[in-house]
């Protein structure tokens, strides 16, 4: 390919070809794998009567953390995840920046899905690495798994974990459930919609 055409491509982008798909025996599977990036639903959750621990090792009673009048944004991560969790955490940081001047500030909470590895100390280090100043929760494995189940975040092994952000404005009956990764800008828009 000549240098000139490379520059042209770089500067002006390129149209992706849209041709009718050739006979592809794996079409259904690939369609499933390339499902739309974000799915948004509104769901009611019962916050379970469980106490986890924050990154300082202090007990965190979930019904206090998610008290009805508290606006919250929650996601689920684990510290050795290298694929989507860094993106999720970085996006949350960016989101936090975008919402800085809003009248209502959400309380950000990240819950570990790997209580075996993620002790309070480990989560504290994870938070420090990203410069994240919000609440990180872990606890005994059974308590954590029951918490995940309550929020329909439990998928068995860590390998099945997925990007999930739950948002609830103060005194709202329902949570906004966002599945999939997306930009901080889009998340900010979704959040502001929930606060209306």
């Amino acid at each position: 390919m000549s240098s000139v055409s490379v520059i042209a491509l770089l500067c002006f982008g390129s149209a992706s070809a849209s041709e009718p798909p050739a006979a592809d025996p794996h079409a259904a599977h690939r369609k499933m794998m390339s499902a739309p990036d974000t799915k948004i639903e509104h769901v009611a959750y019962d916050v379970p009567d469980i106490s986890l621990f924050d990154s300082s090792g202090r007990a965190a009673h979930l019904r206090d953390v998610f008290a009805t009048d508290r606006p919250v944004i929650v996601n689920f991560i684990f510290s050795t995840c290298t694929t989507i969790c860094p993106v999720l955490t970085s996006t949350t940081l960016q989101l936090q920046q975008q919402l800085t001047d809003d009248a209502v500030q959400p309380n950000y909470v990240s819950i570990s899905i790997d209580p075996d590895y993620d002790s309070s100390d480990v989560l504290r280090e994870y938070a420090r690495r990203y410069g994240a100043d919000w609440t990180f929760l872990t606890g005994p494995p059974d308590d954590v798994m029951n918490t995940l189940r309550a929020f329909d975040a439990y998928r068995g092994n860590k390998v099945n974990h997925f990007a999930l952000t739950l948002m609830r404005s103060g005194n709202a009956e329902q949570w906004t459930r966002v599945e999939g990764l997306t930009s901080a800008q889009k998340l900010a828009r979704i959040w502001r919609d929930t606060s209306l």
Binding site: A17, T91, Q94, D116, R129, H161, L181, S183
Partner: protein
Amino acid sequence: MPRFSLVLVAVSLTLGVITPCVGEPAALADEGRQIYRTAIRSDGSSLRALVQNDVPLPPSAAACVNCHRRSGYGISEGGSRSRNLTAPALFEPTTKPPIRPAYDDQTLIRAIVAGIAADGSELHANMPRYELSARDAEALTAYLRTLGANPAPGVSASELTIATVIAKGAPAAERDAVETVLQRFVELKNAQIRQESERAAASDRQYYGRSWQRAFRNWSLQVWTLTGPTSTWREQLESYQTARRPFAIVSGTAGPDWSQVHDFCEANEVPCLLPLSRSPKSNDADFYSLYYSTGALLEARVTANHIAHAGIPSDVKILVVHEDNDASRAALGAFQDELEKHEFRNASAIQVSGRKLSSRKWRALVRSEQPDVLVAWLPVSSISTLGGRSIDELSIPQHVYTANAFSDWLAADVQQGVLSKRIRHVYPYSLPREGLVQFPREQVWLKHQGLADLDPVSASKALYACRVLGMGLADIQSTFSREYLLESLEHALDGTQLTSVFPRTSLGPNQRILSRGAYVVGLAQIQDGVFAIPEWIQP
């Protein structure tokens, strides 16, 4: 879509700074490897990257290795699928959908900087867009041309070589178990493989049959025996490797000091799967060695944790009595660190010689030290005398802890009495129960093979290690990459309880320790059938 300074790259391309090269110098590939694994250049500066259009990533998150992995084969996790970047895949056209032409030096950089694939389509928003200097681009390209380019050692067209490491000074029961179980397992495996190869060849479902056919190998087991002082082991290992390189090292025992083997595996990039070693140089930070647990270090931390939550004041006097060896000293360090976290600072230690501690010596020790909490990391024979007649029952400390790494109570004949009532024993395995086999998944195989006389813990661990290798190979099939094997196991060994040796196991990306907790059991409970589940602690 944000774009970095494409002008810089475009100009470089025009001026021919980036040219397709044949045989890039090794130093450039080394630089590229560092960028791939850390997103940090050799001058210490880090690459800038944006993901999902507007999210900046720190270097630890931006490094290619996170999603494309050390092997380069990629991963499918969290709904995010990252592609195979190994040289044979990247620099050839694909033959299965999504069809795309081969990358070349220019289109490769275009993909990383502008997110445009070789076929001109846009890469997914999960793939970051990077700011690359011309030098970065050259180095990265040089590295990617080497990634996965060479076949893995220890694999021929018909054979897979594995090794196990057995040190002559390791406990006889462990050496026996490892050697016997590995040899029998490999014998059975090879008998099955012949059968399965014939079946696959005859299979109607040709695609399925062919992929298994391609993957089947006969296993060849090398037993690497280590003799003499540990300072000579590295040389012995290197010399075994020179004679015949294995694809992986499986199980093995070196007694309390596995660190020479650990270092060998890291330096030579050999997977080292689940040795029996009781106090390994184990951590999650190294790549190639996978461990059952941190052994004595874990038990020390569990002990400290239990003390800290036992409802006793933090200024109590804690005394650790231990033998003169590295494992004990390392455990002591872990113990004190964990206590410190809970603000228990009144802990001291006494080192005793290996000979059995008599009742008289215990009496003198307890009288002079007067500990509130006694942690006895000694053989059972030494601890038993603490309950001897010459010691006033009231003088035995209220809280006595022992640890399985140092005291094998199961093998001992424990008398009833105040001692067994006082002792809290830290026990890392699934609990023995009256009338039941302790490790059903493993012991059913051992019994069936006529190997029930082998030490159950050692034999079960050796067997599980073999099964883990088998599972890993079934996953990777013909992709014989040592790194890919480990990455596959990171997922495969998580959550699902595949071994009965430990009550709880888990693993994940960049994790290398399978079990992270232990029971704290009243000693009497280990002898009788257990009805109440004792406390399980994961510090």
